[in-house]
């Protein structure tokens, strides 16, 4: 009974959506402006029909080729660092990041990182026991974050050199895949960016990845801290 009621709702809503939309399909080309200049084969307004016009109204149009402005709002980079996986030692982490600068203050950032968990103290002390298989020790994460350039500025190296820099804060959501499971992860942290050239940036970042885990007994909140150094380019 419940399902058939939904089927009726589904079909009627389909009709409501699609029918007014279909009327829009043909209408796109109608608002094209009519050309202001008369067509080339139109009769000249002056003189006899068999006479040639005195002035040929054909004017050579100047070709204006506008260069597109090169917009560099995207930033692509890679990073290497250390990730401390709670209960599973600290290990090297590699990652890639793609950022889009919305305004001079805010940016969106997507990161993807890979690491590998070590052994817990329990595993080491007990000798032979393994909590995780080898494949389950792979640790990958992704995060979608919003960043805020909180303290933009310049750094001075010696007397003649100044480089643009920014201290920024990021917060976001994402996923951590570890021990064969996906976990919803909240990520937050800060970073410092220095631009040795206008198209290149060096980053130092500290991130905390927080999620719920019941891997070692009871369910608890896990904080995995990460520090990394990265290089990125603007395009």
């Amino acid at each position: 009974m419940e399902v058939s009621r939904f089927r009726v709702l589904f079909l009627s809503l389909l009709a409501v959506t699609v029918l007014p939309g279909c009327s829009m399909l043909g209408g796109r080309d109608n608002d094209r402006p009519t050309p202001l200049a008369p067509a080339a084969d139109a009769e000249p307004l002056t003189g006899e029909p068999d006479q040639k016009p005195i002035i040929d109204p054909q004017v050579e149009r100047r070709e204006i080729r506008r260069a597109r402005i090169d917009t560099e709002d995207f930033e692509l980079g890679a990073y290497v660092g250390v990730l401390s996986i709670e209960d599973f030692e600290s290990n090297a982490v590699y990652g890639a990041r793609l950022a889009y600068h919305l305004t001079e203050d805010f940016f969106l950032e997507g990161t993807y990182g890979k690491s590998r968990a070590g052994r817990t103290s329990y595993e080491n002390l007990s000798g032979q026991t393994d909590l995780l298989t080898d494949g389950d020790r792979d640790y990958t994460y992704y995060a979608l974050s919003l960043g805020w350039n909180a303290l933009p500025g310049e750094i001075f190296v010696g007397k003649n050199r100044a480089y643009n820099s920014a201290f920024y804060l990021v917060a976001g959501i994402g996923n951590t895949r570890f021990a064969g499971d996906d976990r919803f992860t909240v990520t937050g942290g800060f970073g410092y960016r220095v631009l040795p050239a206008d198209w290149m940036a060096v980053h130092f970042d500290v991130r905390d990845h927080i999620f719920d885990s019941d891997l070692v007994g009871e369910k608890k909140i896990v904080n995995n801290l990460e520090a990394h150094l990265g290089l990125s380019i603007f395009f």
């Binding site: 305004t103 001079e104 919803f184």
Partner: protein, 249 residues
């Protein structure tokens, strides 16, 4: 061995890409029409003004970052000018410079739209990415990938549907959506006796979109999903996307 090579390869690719990005295009010359233009040392309001270009001078437009334009004078001085100052700038032909600024009016002529959002899928956390193609002012087709992270299982769902925006010319505009797709459910590894499932889903929903600025939109959405399970009863699932960020081009 291959593991340790990966980051190195990535770095090499990055540097190659950087070299490509630096390839020079013919310089774009522009004419200053404001009484003068201030050049900042960086693309931001706080960076100090270190140079001034007067009216009538021709400068080279190097690039744009967010709302800042990098200019190079004929003496080779490079600095950043704000968008407000650039509005009065002219092309060498005397026409106003087209800043290629997408505005709300451009939304009507948009073709592609994409974005991400976060929310709730019957108690589980939801991360969602979507992309759409508009084939009229009101109607578009949209593809959505959901990553659903629950306490007992994780799922991926892929849906395709129609989206009808009632009044695209309004800043805050409601829309209606309808579609179908598949959902793959993978129970957590610490649960015993469960297997992966693939099911078909259908949904009806509605939402609100809000034009933010330039090419950006915010949106929030509700979907009522029906999961066509292989069991006797179908499942009904409420899906809320609390906040999403979208851009069009």
């Amino acid at each position: 061995m291959s593991r340790s090579l990966t980051p190195l390869t990535l770095l090499c690719l990055l540097l190659l890409f950087a070299a490509g990005a630096q390839a020079k295009e013919p310089a774009h010359k522009i004419l200053i029409a404001d009484p003068f233009i201030e050049l900042h040392s960086g693309p931001g309001r706080g960076y100090p003004v270190f140079h001034v270009v007067e009216r009538g001078r021709e400068v080279e437009l190097v690039k744009r970052r967010t709302d800042w334009f990098q200019l190079r004078t004929d003496q080779g001085v490079e600095g950043w000018a704000s968008r407000e100052q650039m509005i009065a700038t002219l092309e060498p032909t005397g026409e106003p410079l087209d800043l290629q600024e997408p505005a709300r009016e451009n939304y009507m002529s948009r073709r592609w739209q994409a974005g991400v959002s976060g929310g709730d899928f019957e108690g589980a956390s939801l991360i969602s990415a979507f992309g759409g193609y508009a084939f009229s002012d009101n109607l578009s087709i949209e593809l959505t990938v959901n990553h659903i992270l629950g306490e007992f299982s994780n799922s991926y769902s892929y849906t395709v549907g129609l989206l009808h925006v009632f009044a695209p010319e309004w800043r805050l505009s409601p829309y209606f959506t309808l579609g179908t797709g598949v959902i793959y459910t993978d129970p957590k590894s610490n649960l015993v006796g469960t297997i992966d499932r693939d099911d078909q889903i259908g949904y009806v929903g509605g939402g609100l979109q809000f034009y933010l600025t330039r090419r950006f939109m915010l949106r929030t959405e509700y979907r009522h999903n029906i999961v066509f399970t292989s069991r006797n009863d179908n499942e009904e699932v409420d899906e809320w996307k609390y906040l999403g960020f979208a851009f069009f081009f």
